[in-house]
Amino acid sequence: MTIDKTIPQRAAKSGSNFDKNNGQGPGMNERIKQLRRVSVDTEPSLSIERALIETEFYKENYGKYSIPVLRAKTFYEICKHKTIYIGDGELIVGERGPSPKSVPTFPELTCHSVDDLNVLNTRELQRYTISQEEIDTYAKEVIPYWEGRTQRERIFNHVPEEWKAAYEAGLFTEFMEQRAPGHTTLDGKIYKKGLLEFKKDIQDHIDRLDYMNDDEATDKLEELQAMAISCDAAILLSERHADLAEELAAKEEDENRKAELLNIAEVCRWVPANAPRTFWEAIQMYWWMHLGTITELNGWDAMNPGHFDQHLEPFYNKESAEGTLSRDEAKELLSCFWIKVNNQPAPPKVGITARESGTYNDFTNINIGGVRKDGSDGVSEVSYIMLDIIEDLHILQPGSSIHISSRTPERFLKAGCNVIRQGHGYPSVFNPDVYIMEMLGHGKSIEDAREGGCSGCIEVGAFGKEAYVLTGYLNVPKILEVTLNNGIDPVTGKKAGIETGDPRTFTSYDELYDAFLKQLNFVVDQKVRVSNYIDRMFAKYAPAPLLSVLTDDCIARGRDYYNAGPRYNTNYIQCTGLGTVTDSLSTLKKHVFEDKNFSIDTILDAVAINFEGEEVLRQTILNNTPFFGNDDDAADDIALKVYNDLFAAIDGKPNTKGETFHLNMLSTTCHVYFGKVMGATPNGRLAGKSISDGTSPSHGCDTHGPSAVIRSLTKLDHTKSGGTLLNQRFLPSLLKRDEDIAKLSKLIRSYFSLGGHHIQFNIVDTATLLAAQKTPEDYKDLLVRMAGYSDYFNDMNADLQQEVIDRTENESF
């Protein structure tokens, strides 16, 4: 990794990533305003506390215990010794670091160097502050121990040359080189069962171990013991907060706050040891599980409560009937939770993945609405409260999504569209009718599929029962680029793939496409091979006992979350750039092989020199080629073929857990990084420009409005994937009147009835975006929905900002 030493210094206090004054809705009371202020004003910082506790523990104990027990005991040490925090006015308590917005490091996965820490402390965007003293301590206490022992080093020591060449060319990324497999979402069991009961289950399974006949019995014992220790750790953490709350209450002079603190203590004494009894306890219960799982390891995508409205609804109904909880009180407690999630920025990455996804967002995604286990509509009053909160709070995290099945009432969809209209980028919209079919196709039971949904961005899984691991993004246009150069990456001149023939000698489109397909299969095989290796590394060296307690059927199987413990075990490969690759193939098909307007040499020569001096050719391509997203079969048929061939290449490849890989079509922000490692493409896209995101059309190439985009997109069978992604940008002017909202809701219904998986809207205008680039300080609250999540426009680098501006505007119709 190279470190850019020229990054300018910036004063710690100036400019946080959040809007400070605006964006507060009328529904926020003083407490929420104040907690929100603390959350948005505090600049993210790094905390070395977790690393110090862990390193010290490893130094003394490595080798004394089995790895699962070592991991659980490490987690216990952290819960026992970490600095704890109860802020003024807080009702829901607990932080991942010692205070809000303070992020621990995970040296067992990847250990930041002194240079890394310096860069993080000084870089312009996504900065994390850390003092010189702490950097010195890290250099002395942490770094020397982990050198050569991290997961990242294990992985990179193993990978074959072909993989390295493809990886370095940017043909794919690897999620697990920096963080643990995650994308984990909980189901409803923690609202019915406390950790003490889980411990009983664990003990039952320990008692039943058959050492005579089961050759895994000893391993299972170690894993189950580790799970029990992790339960103790989470309970201990809560008890410590109860102690602190009581201490603070004793000193508190304000009677109201004193009572609140005593309440907090009571809640923390009860959960997570026992099943929650109240709305408040239910939220705190989830929060302990959230904090626990993101403290024991650093899974990709924080943690998700799943169908949080459905889980909280029984508590809300009971207490409102009893008159012990008003709607406002429920909203206040939930707002406290929302802010808690916002207090936990993503742990910083280094190297290649820092360019991929530049965001503080750690991708917690609250699923609202949807269907219940029995297939009935899942919308409740709690769903509406959540929509109110999204509108009021206007903060980066957590992300939220509304789930619109054919049974979802129109009122809920419209309420969701009204929040979309505010232009905060949330919520995104999902179609349970389709994603349930996706999960059935992946072999889930109907009940488990219905309890599932989306975590992080757009990927689906069976909540609380599945490890669905995103392994990395596949740069599909780059595969074409390498094919067009017979296995060489034209950007570096190095070999990146296999020789599939000199395209200049190809005489038919089919010949070209076959070469692309060969290259594609080669690249996918490289990716799968190393993913499987990495999975075993996590199973062996970095088990996650608490996460295993929370995921069925890890306890019953006596196996870890990373070791085929869950009921379902999926590996996804996320394919990016369907629009770019389709349009490039369409260009070659039409102009070279069908109309013979240009020779393949003419186009490839122009591509090689980034169309310099070839503007007429480039414009002819841009304006006279069928492109994806316009309901034009000439292009859409190519997209369909590529999509089906991606499916064929990926789906069904075995993983190490007795199950298989599946296709996913999300991009997050990786399409920007992928564009940077590429030269020009035949569709007229210039070198370095971002490729298309998810399954969206190429930027600016969908010129027939959203209904044509939808028609193009739904020629693909979304149920073959584990998620597709469609970004649509709307100007506010398109959503002025209530009837416009109604029409937007019908557009969504139409997309979903045609089989669409997900759609998201950016409600902004170009003038606003340009103004925001010029005077960023005036547009701090400009939340933009990116590919699968929302981010602040000001927090994006120039490339990402340009990408947002370039997306097709659906101007006045």
Binding site: T620, G705, S707, L747
Partner: protein, 302 residues
């Protein structure tokens, strides 16, 4: 099968009637309103449109023109209209679509194919197809044919018209139309003539005729300060509309804007905007109040 000259087809049209619609714009209009924001809709012939900002000076158009009518100047491509036969070859070869032909001939079957692509959106939103222009009634043969075809497929039909047409035609179209959007531009015939080029007696007669024949229609008033936004004019319009046997009694006020300007530049035509101004919020509210006094509900936009 009859054919018609169409200058645009818009999908996800949300301002041309109920639900999500596809709008077909016929080319050619008997009126020539000075504020027209689709000036290419007026001529019933194909026209060439040129956008200088898109032009990269490839001169491919100059080379291909069989009449040598084009020339690259400092102002971009200039066409000698005397020589130009509107063959469209320059538009076809233009790499950037700086030159475009406005107006393409479609058969009703071709139009139906496009319309039917949107069926799912119509179904969900109770939308349909809107025939606009230009003036669709100028193309009544083609219009009636396609209205029948849409009716066969149960597609909701809206006709957006000036009603400047023979009354027989209006009645024939009315039989096949679910809803009319009728432009009502000025009450005084001489004012109407000044700004649109034609008198409005025929229009008023046809409005009356639609009402008497129980046709469903909404009146749309391009609301322009200096032309028809004064209280007296509004009152007269409202008075007239309150005397006809009209059930719906719904008016859309479309506040004047001047986005038409850049299109006139493209066509090389002039944009006469003497005395025309954007109406104020107050004037809009006042007009709504006046209509309300006559039992007519007037909304802004539509």
């Amino acid at each position: 099968m009859s054919k018609a000259l169409i200058f645009d087809i818009k999908r996800y049209a949300i301002n041309d009637g109920p639900g999500i619609r596809v709008t077909i714009f016929y080319k050619g209009c008997p009126l020539s309103c000075v504020w027209c924001h689709n000036p290419e809709s007026i001529s019933p012939y194909a026209q060439k449109m040129y956008t200088e900002s898109k032009c990269i000076g490839s001169v491919k158009c100059v080379e291909i023109c069989p009449e040598s009518a084009l020339q690259l100047t400092k102002q971009g491509i200039v066409t000698d209209v005397e020589k130009c036969t509107l063959c469209g070859k320059c538009a076809m070869i233009c790499p950037t679509k700086a030159i475009e032909m406005s107006g393409k001939v479609y058969s009703s079957d071709e139009l139906m194919k496009i319309i039917e692509r949107e069926t799912i959106f119509f179904d969900h939103s109770e939308g349909g197809v809107t025939f606009s222009g230009g003036e669709p009634l100028m193309h009544h043969k083609s219009l009636i044919e396609i209205l029948d075809k849409c009716a066969e497929k149960d597609i909701h039909r809206v006709v957006d018209t000036t009603l400047f047409a023979k009354s027989e035609v209006v009645l024939e179209v009315a039989k096949r139309t679910n809803l009319f959007l009728v432009d009502f531009k000025a009450f005084e015939s001489e004012v109407h003539r000044k700004y649109t080029g034609v008198n409005n007696e025929l229009i008023l007669k046809n409005i009356q005729l639609l009402a008497e024949n129980n046709a469903d229609f909404i009146i749309r008033v391009p609301f322009i300060k200096g032309v028809n936004a004064d209280e007296e004019t509004v009152e007269r319009m409202a008075d007239f509309l309150s005397t006809i046997p009209w059930k719906r009694k719904e008016v859309n006020l479309l506040p004047y804007h001047d986005v038409g300007k850049h299109k006139h530049t493209k066509l090389g035509s002039e944009y006469l905007v003497e005395n025309m101004e954007v109406p104020s919020e107050d004037e809009l509210t006042r007009a709504q109040d006046i209509f309300a006094e006559y039992g007519i509900s007037a909304s802004v936009g539509g």
